[in-house]
Subunit: 317 residues, 2 copies
C-alpha cells in the first residue's frame, strides 16, 4: 500500500475555463499558493483479486466512478490492469470553505502512480493530477506555484515559481457558507466560456498578470502581490457575472467580508481578498497583521482560520 | 416664471462611460423607461436685477454652481445675459433609491430654455438636458426611450422608441440603502473606462443589445425585455468589478434582493433585476405579478414601492 499527502492550494492568479475539457487544458496560466493546513491523504493498493476499484472516503465506501476513471489513466501509463483499493482522508473540512479536489487528485496521482510502479517526475505528476482536476496540477508543488497553460498534454503542467518570496505571507479564511454550492465549478466555467462577453478579455488580462506576479513574488512586494491577486479574483467573478444567465457566488455575507477587507486596507492594514467559485472569502496578508484581521472578521463570522504556504505533495507511510 | 416637470428614468440597456466628458457624449447608446411616480418640478425666472443666479432646492437656498454652469449654456443659446432664480422640488425621495439628476436636469432644461424665450424641439431639449447629466437626455421623453450615442453634440439625443409596448410593465423598487453612495457615478465611470479590462467588451455588448430590446418592446416580449435588461445591468456591474481598484455598489442586502429575484423566477414569476450605480434593486415585472413580488420582498425590506412607465417632460401652469 502506498500513501501520499498533498495540500490544497489557492489561486492568486485564477484559473477559469477549459480550452480542452478532456485533457483539462486551461485557457490561461494560473499561479497559486499551496496551503500548509489543508491536505488530503490517500492510499492506493493494486490488488489482482479485486473485480472492481474500491473507494473509501473518510472511512465510508463511496461510488468509485471518478476515481476509477483516473486510475484508468494510471493503468494505461503503467501498462497494468489490476483494480485497486483507494482509501482517502480529507483534512480539508468543508467548514474551511476550501475545495478539496486539488489536494485529492494530487494525492491520488502520487499514490496511484507510485503504487503502479512508476516513478514520475514532478512535471509528470502535475500533468497526471491535472487530468483529475485542473487545480490539482498545482498541488503537486509547494509554496508558490505556476501552472503553465501550455498547448497540449505535455506542455500544460505546474512547477514552483522560480524565486519564492521570503516575507511571511498568510491567508485568513473566512467561512461564509460551508455547504455545497449551487453551481459546480465545471458547469460555471462552461457557462462563462460559452456566454460571457468578457471571457476573452478575462483570458488576456489574467494571462498578462502571471509575469508581474512572478516579479512581485521575487521582489517580496506584498502590495503588488495583493493587488494582482485581488484584481484577478474580481475579474474572474466579473466574467461570471456577465454570463447569461449571470452567475454569482456572492452571498450577502460575502459582501460583508469584502467590505471588511476594504475597510482594513483604508485603515492601513495590508489585506487583499480573493475568492474561488464559492461564497467564501480568503484574505492575503502578512503575519504581523493576522491578529487584527482575524479579530475584525470575528465580529461577523464564527469560523475564521489562518494558514500559510505549505509543502509539496509527498509520499508518507 | 416658467415651471416644468420631468420624470426620472431607469435604464434597461445601460449607460456607463463618457467618450466626451465636456459634451457628455456616451460610449454606448442606452434605452430607458421613464417613471410615472418620481419627478422634479423646477421653476426658472430670469431677472435683470439679480447679480448672481439663485438656486432653491426643496425650499432651501443651495449653492448654485452646477445650476449656473447649466444656465450658462442656456444663456449662450438664447443670447441672453440675465441671471435667474431657480426653484426646484424633487419628488424623488432619496428613500426611493432612484437618482434625481435625470429628472432634475430635464426639468431645468425645459424650464430654463422656455423662460429664456426659446422653443426647443424635443430633440434639442434632450441634447440640452444631456449637458447637465447624461441620463437627463432620456427624461425629456416618456415611456420607453432610446438615447442614441451619436458622435457629436448634434447627433447624441434621446427620443421615444418607435413602437411602445402595450403590456402592463411595472417596476418594483427595493430600497437597500437610501444614503449617499461612496463613489459617484461620474468618478465610477471614469475609473471603469480607464482601468477595466472589460470596458471595450461592455461597450460592444451593450450597444449590440439596443436593437434586440427595441424588437422585444415592439413585440411585447416581456421575457426578452427582462433578460436583456438584467444582462445589461449585470454586465455594467461586472465591468466595474473588474476595474482597478474594483468598484462595487453591492451591499449585503443587495445580494439578498437579487437572490429573491432569482427565486421568484424559479417559481415561475416574471421578475428581472436591474441596478444603477448604487445598492438598490429595481425589479421589472408585469402588473399581475406585482403583489406577489412586493410581498416577497417585504419579508426582508421595509421600503418597496411600485411604479410604471411615465410621461414626457412638460410645462405646467
Amino acid at each position: 500500500m502506498t500513501t501520499a499527502r498533498a495540500h490544497t492550494n489557492i489561486a492568486l492568479i485564477k484559473y477559469w475555463g477549459k480550452k480542452d475539457p478532456d485533457l483539462m487544458l486551461p485557457y490561461t496560466s494560473s499561479l497559486s499558493m499551496t496551503l500548509a493546513d489543508y491536505y488530503t491523504e490517500t492510499s492506493v493498493h493494486f490488488d489482482a483479486s479485486l473485480d472492481a476499484d474500491q473507494f473509501y472516503l473518510d472511512g465510508r465506501q463511496t461510488p468509485a466512478a471518478k476515481v476509477s476513471a483516473f486510475l484508468d489513466l494510471v493503468r494505461q501509463q503503467a501498462g497494468r490492469q489490476e483494480f485497486a483499493t483507494v482509501t482517502s482522508a480529507n483534512h480539508v473540512p468543508t467548514t474551511a470553505g476550501l475545495a478539496s479536489s486539488a489536494s485529492a487528485y494530487a494525492a491520488l496521482a502520487l499514490a496511484a502512480s507510485t503504487a503502479a510502479g512508476m516513478e514520475l517526475s514532478a512535471t509528470e505528476l502535475s500533468r497526471l493530477a491535472r487530468r483529475g482536476s485542473g487545480s490539482a496540477s498545482r498541488s503537486i508543488a509547494g509554496g508558490f506555484v505556476i501552472w503553465h497553460r501550455g498547448h497540449d498534454d505535455a506542455t500544460s503542467y505546474a512547477e514552483p515559481v522560480a524565486t519564492q518570496p521570503t516575507i511571511p505571507i498568510r491567508m485568513v479564511v473566512v467561512l461564509v457558507n460551508g455547504g455545497q454550492k449551487a453551481v459546480s465549478s465545471r458547469a460555471g466555467m462552461q457557462n462563462t466560456v460559452a456566454t460571457s462577453p468578457f471571457y476573452s478579455s478575462f483570458v488576456t488580462s489574467n494571462e498578462a498578470a502571471i509575469a508581474p506576479m512572478q516579479t512581485a513574488l521575487a521582489n517580496n512586494d506584498f502590495t503588488m502581490i495583493g493587488e494582482l491577486a485581488e484584481a484577478s479574483s474580481y475579474q474572474m467573478h466579473a466574467t461570471m457575472l456577465a454570463a447569461k444567465p449571470a452567475l454569482s457566488y456572492f452571498e450577502p455575507k460575502t459582501i460583508t467580508a469584502l467590505q471588511h477587507v476594504q475597510q482594513l486596507r483604508q485603515a492601513g492594514i495590508p489585506a487583499y481578498a480573493t475568492m474561488d467559485a464559492g461564497p467564501n472569502v480568503k484574505i492575503l496578508t502578512l503575519a504581523p497583521f493576522v491578529d487584527r484581521i482575524v479579530s475584525t472578521l470575528r465580529q461577523d463570522f464564527k469560523t475564521v482560520t489562518v494558514t500559510q504556504p505549505g509543502p509539496a505533495a509527498t509520499l508518507i507511510d
